[in-house]
Symmetry: C2
């Protein structure tokens, strides 16, 4: 099977059909028509074998995750997903692998009404790179730099599940246990908060997605905004399965520095916090206020009683240098 | 040096500044403003270590080539380059390597007035993926599918140089010889025909860039257009250095199946051929008519005297399965 057959078979018609795609897969480039008066939001993320997913990860989940982590970036920008490209290098054209990969990728693409419009394939170590393009009204895209002192810090969903899921996957935990299955799904099939990101346009003052752990990613908001924050670790949203298998302190560590959660962290003026409940219930996602922005730089962790705590005391001893 | 320091240092301000970049490197995504009434052309190509460039290739040339091969796709579409993203996986953050790579990448970006707006870095086997976005008026993008019987087939520049350059590089030929230097430059630092592509809007009926050899790439035009062609190998444009080091028959093979030339191949009605000289002289690129499109599918190779020849007779025995 040549490169061209392979592309045609598995990637020629992937995702939702869109009338704004004037020329899709199969030429030197794709041609799309951005709607008048919208800005274009571009993002790209790669998954490297054994770095961003375990060697034995379900193949359809690799396809899901490759697009989901990019959608998470669009979510953090408040953008509406539109088109994507795929670059796939793989050691050999294993048809079963490709079929499963395309199945997972297509599932996420259709759910978010995205269309695969082009890409590249080559022989090489397994590497999956996706590039996404989304749309936002002028001035509406969320940035990391707009937080203000006094803003509340809010996170979606629960944190620390993916890091724990990785340990359970490696430890070959019982996958028939529904709590184990939940945590493994959080690792392998992250849920990008695309609708939430769009709902935060004009409401959040800054936003980021949590891919490297809350401490690092909230840190991006703080350094971009030139500010600091206090976070109450007792308020970190932890899942029941996470508490059962990880325990409270370990999950704090996973939430702060574990990575791969793909939830959103955003800041919002106190005057707007009353809008959160309606958004959370409309979108079916929990939204938890965990702290507040302060003028003094740095991230300060406290317990509810205001006792300072350290990252190490939260059960975590190092930051991975690369994710 | 963390991933974030590395990005800031080498990639934070790369390429030409553009007023249509509303938010560049350093957030979850970039925000750009496409001009009203233009379509967007998207393309992506990756370079895999030791597959798309030799292990010991000059590092700044890897940076040049990573963007140039993508620009060649935009050229084949007749698009005007605008923005690009870079995904770089590398085994370690070698600062000298990164500096040289960014120097080459930046040189090509500035020449084509492109801006690097985002990307991703991760630890892994060396892999360089670039995604480009360009602009074209509605309906103006060149495609592979518009060739018509009787159209002339034209190629830019000279063919077969890069394949010969690779042999000379591997054979450690004398790089002080200007002919060797020419051929190595053709391999390491391809010249994307961006201005030519734009000049062909409304003139060429179909276009493709020659990355896998003329036979394969012209083959894409033929299959997309549902047609065939006859090409006169005596007319294939060969360089003097190519003839000196490779000889005529070997260079035919390199032209037809050698790859990496990044010239354009396009089709044009005979009634427009008189425009070619002016375009060639304005852009400083040679344009050579090598054959014509026919209704009967398939690619037929002849010598000027109409004697049929085969690819094997042109000195080439196989097609690489993946480039």
């Amino acid at each position: 099977m040549t490169e061209f057959d392979l592309i045609r078979t598995y990637f020629g018609d992937l995702g939702s059909r869109r009338t704004d795609v004037l020329l899709g897969v199969g030429d030197d480039g794709a041609v799309v028509q951005p709607p008048a008066g919208q800005t274009l939001v571009l993002a790209t993320d790669c998954l490297v074998d054994a770095v961003h997913f375990p060697k034995d990860a379900p193949v359809d989940a690799i396809g899901e995750k490759a697009l989901a982590v990019n959608l998470s970036d669009l979510a953090a920008m408040g953008a509406q997903p539109a088109w994507f490209q795929l670059v796939l290098t793989l050691p050999k054209a294993d048809q079963q692998w490709l079929r499963q990969f395309a199945t997972g990728l297509g599932r996420v693409a259709r759910y978010h009404q995205m269309r695969l419009v082009g890409g590249d394939t080559a022989r090489g170590p397994l590497n999956v790179t996706v590039q996404v393009a989304g749309l936002a009204p002028p001035g509406a895209a969320l940035r990391r730099c707009g937080a203000r002192p006094g803003d509340a810090i809010v996170v979606s969903g629960t944190l620390g599940d993916a890091a724990l899921g990785l340990d359970l996957w490696r430890g070959r935990a019982d996958r028939d246990d529904p709590d184990v299955a939940f945590l493994l799904n959080r690792l392998h099939r992250p849920t990008p908060r695309v609708s939430l990101g769009q709902a935060l346009r004009g409401r959040a003052t800054a936003a980021v997605d949590i891919s490297d752990g809350l401490a690092a990613d909230l840190g991006h908001i703080l350094s971009a905004s030139g500010l600091g924050a206090t976070v109450d670790v007792d308020r970190l949203p932890l899942s029941e399965p996470g508490l059962r298998f990880g325990g409270r302190e370990r999950q704090w560590g996973g939430a702060l520095a574990g990575g791969d959660d793909y939830e959103l962290c955003f800041t919002m003026p106190p005057s707007r916090l009353h809008e959160l409940d309606a958004i959370a219930s409309r979108l079916g996602v929990s939204l938890t206020r965990i702290g507040y922005i302060q003028p003094q730089p740095g991230l300060r962790l406290v317990r509810g009683d205001r006792t300072p705590v350290t990252l190490a005391a939260c059960g975590y001893s190092h930051f991975p240098e690369h994710r």
